[in-house]
């Protein structure tokens, strides 16, 4: 009897393990697809110029060198680009969170007349291709004396992140029971206090999602930053790094080193808040 039970258990374990094979294979394949380019960028950044273009690739640097990083920090304005990107991304994130939270709360929580139509219009504005707006935006920002300023880029970024983030917060706001508002009102809390002290803490996962989205959008934004910034001292990372690729000549090692150091901040960010972001996107999309 004991032997039979053990045999059944062993069979179930084997079936369980065999059943996991497709999942493990899929996991490995996906990891290679996703992490493969990242790995290749990383090891290429440590290769010399001859090895990096060799027609038979090496999967580990034979001529380990830090010269690409040295050149990145000594010959380019990478620290300046990095500082500018941080300023623009953080400010965009803060403003986006503030604007989209206020908008989403008003549209989806308070009884504002016509809020349904306004919400539709907000989402529609997100769908306008940005490149069509370059010249009108240039004229607008020039009129506001915001060409070649970080504030101009932040405003444009917020104009594109806030509509989507407002919609994204919809699911989180709907998930908070309205009875909480009524209970707070009975206890004497006004709308502002209800929002800030009662509802806002419950929306923190949504706020984290919006913050990560707007940060990544701003960090990788290229078109507007390339158009509205003209001074070298104000350029962000995507613009600065595209310039070092240059016309006619490509220093592949330098490009790889620059790419690696551009990816790092977002990778670190995702290591800490990535799971909230993915969960938040699903929540925002399904509620």
């Amino acid at each position: 009897m004991t032997s039979l039970t053990a045999s059944r258990r062993s069979g179930r374990t084997l079936r369980h393990r065999l059943g996991a094979v497709p999942r493990v294979v899929a996991w490995i394949v996906l990891s290679v697809i996703v992490l493969g380019p990242l790995y290749w960028i990383t090891i290429s950044a440590f290769k010399g110029r001859e090895e990096i273009i060799r027609s038979t690739p090496t999967f580990w640097p034979e001529t380990f060198t830090l010269s690409n990083f040295e050149q990145l920090f000594m010959s380019t304005e990478y620290p300046v680009f990095l500082t500018n990107s941080i300023i623009v991304a953080v400010t965009t994130t803060v403003v986006t969170v503030f604007v989209s939270l206020a908008a989403a709360y008003g549209l989806y929580r308070l009884k504002v007349p016509g809020s349904g139509k306004i919400a539709g219009i907000v989402l529609l504005s997100y769908m306008i291709p940005g490149t069509l707006l370059i010249v009108p935006l240039y004229r607008t920002l020039a009129g506001l004396e915001l060409i070649d300023t970080h504030a101009g880029i932040v405003l444009v970024n917020v104009a594109f992140t806030a509509p989507f983030c407002t919609w994204l917060l919809r699911g989180f706001i709907f998930a908070v029971p309205r009875e909480i508002d009524e209970a707070a009102a009975i206890d004497g809390a006004g709308p502002t206090r209800t929002m800030l002290q009662i509802v806002l803490p419950l929306l923190l996962p949504g706020i984290a999602t919006v913050a990560v989205y707007s940060f990544v959008f701003s960090w990788t934004e290229f078109v507007f930053a390339s158009q509205f910034i003209v001074s070298d001292a104000l350029q962000t990372l995507p613009i600065g790094l595209s310039a070092i690729i240059g016309q006619y000549t490509v220093n592949w090692g330098l490009v790889m080193a620059g790419t690696l150091f551009t990816l790092l901040p977002t990778v670190v960010l995702f290591l800490f808040v990535g799971r909230y972001f993915v969960g938040g996107l699903i929540t925002g999309a399904t509620k």
Partner: protein, 430 residues
């Protein structure tokens, strides 16, 4: 509330980081835009600007780097807002685009002055002449050559080709399981435009416009050049459809390809990237068509336009550009990218400051060959004194490269691709 305050403070904090717009950027400042973003070129131009500013000019120069891919829309936006730079680096077709935006001042007096002082190469100044005025000051030239690996040709017993048929034979002979005979770009980009046009020049098809500015590319000479390109692509790496400038150079230096057609940027990194002695980099003029062929190549005259509408700034910009071409400064300017930037003044080739650069001394024969090739250089839209206003529409959309893709990716014949190019180009300028 705290969040809102933080947002406002943060936005306010970052609004002070900028300068004013370019043309409004300080009445006593000349803002210069250039599109040479690689670190060594940026450093060289900034160093020259500093040197100029140390002479205490009334209008010091501030250099700002832009990207070729973005500058078309950027300058259009700037023009509409009156925020254009005072000086803008340009190539002839881009200059027509800028002028069509309503920008650009005549620099005839500056060009005449430089002509009298140093002499200017015709191929460098001619593309900027229209309505009896010059619209840019030529600063440096670029020309294409056939580059090849001496070691690979020697191993295969192949001589450097001088004609189209020899080029095809060499590419075939040099193609093995592991290597390609030649690496050609076939992406939708300017690199492909330029290589094809060099072959059109040496096939007698340099001029593809009629006297009244209409497109006339569907000719036997052009069909022959397209046909040659298609044939050569058989011996080019299989991913050529994604190639621009960097990939053929990497293929040549790594030994994945034995030949390539490009400009003088091949000199500086060759030894380091290939691990070979510099003598293993061979160079030759672009092979010419077996019948009716003539020596030549695409030639790019890079110049500077003056966009400021302020007459005092225009004069100051002219002073700066004349200063750049003074013998004490011009060599340093050309050495921003040694081998790629060629002199446009008659005596520039003999400048010790330029010639003594290590890259130029190492590859002196190829440098001389490029200078000679420059003499027969051409650029579409500006052949034999032409000035086609709409050429920027054609080069900006890479129709030549798109026609190559029609053959390489979509299987069109050379005749079909040429007819397609004719139709597309004409529609673009109508």
């Amino acid at each position: 509330m705290a969040l809102g305050t933080a947002a406002v403070l943060a936005l306010g904090a970052c609004s002070g980081g900028g300068t004013d717009g370019p043309d409004a950027g300080g009445d006593q400042e000349l803002v210069l835009w250039h599109m040479e973003g690689t670190p060594n070129r940026v450093a060289a131009f900034e160093s020259l600007a500093e040197k100029y500013n140390e002479t205490n000019p009334e209008y010091p120069v501030t250099v700002q780097v832009q990207d070729w891919d973005q500058v078309y829309t950027k300058v259009a936006g700037a023009a509409q807002s009156g925020k254009q730079p005072d000086i803008l680096f340009a190539i002839p077709d881009f200059a027509t685009y800028v002028r069509n935006l309503g920008l650009g001042q005549s620099v005839t007096d500056v060009v005449d002055s430089l002509e009298n002082e140093y002499g200017l190469i015709d191929a460098a100044k001619a593309p900027y002449q229209d309505d009896d005025e010059y619209w840019a000051v030529p600063l440096y030239g670029m020309v294409q050559m056939l580059w090849y690996r001496e070691d690979m040709l020697a191993a295969a017993g192949v001589e450097a080709p001088t004609t189209w048929s020899e080029l095809v034979d060499a590419a075939a002979a040099l193609t093995t399981d592991g290597t390609s005979g030649i690496a050609l770009p076939a992406g939708k980009n300017l690199a492909t435009d330029q290589v094809l046009y060099s072959l059109m020049v040496t096939g007698g098809g340099a001029n593809f416009f009629t006297e009244d500015g209409q497109v006339d590319i569907d000719t036997p000479e052009t069909v022959a050049a397209f046909d040659l390109y298609k044939e050569l692509l058989q011996y080019s790496p299989t991913d050529s459809a994604n190639y621009a400038w960097g990939e053929p150079q990497a293929a040549l230096n790594s030994g994945a390809a034995a030949m390539a057609i490009e400009k003088g940027q091949y000199l500086a990194p060759f030894a380091e990237e290939s691990g070979l002695d510099p003598s293993q980099l061979g160079c030759a003029p672009i092979p010419v068509a077996d019948e009716g062929g003539e020596p030549g190549s695409i030639y790019y005259s890079n110049g500077a336009m003056v966009l400021s509408e302020d007459s005092a700034k225009q004069a100051a910009a002219g002073d700066f550009l004349e200063w750049l071409l003074e013998p004490d400064n011009y060599g340093d300017f050309l050495n921003a990218e040694p081998g790629l930037f060629l002199p446009v003044t008659s005596g520039g080739a003999e400048l010790e400051q330029w010639r003594s650069n290590e890259v130029l001394t190492t590859y002196a024969e190829c440098v001389d060959a490029m200078l000679k090739q420059s003499e027969t250089g051409e650029l579409f839209g500006f052949v034999d004194g032409q000035y086609i206003d709409a050429v920027g529409e054609i080069s900006g959309q890479n129709f030549l490269a798109q026609a190559i893709q029609q053959m390489h990716v979509n299987g069109m014949s050379a005749e079909e691709a040429t007819a397609w190019a004719q139709e597309q180009m004409q529609a673009a300028i109508d």
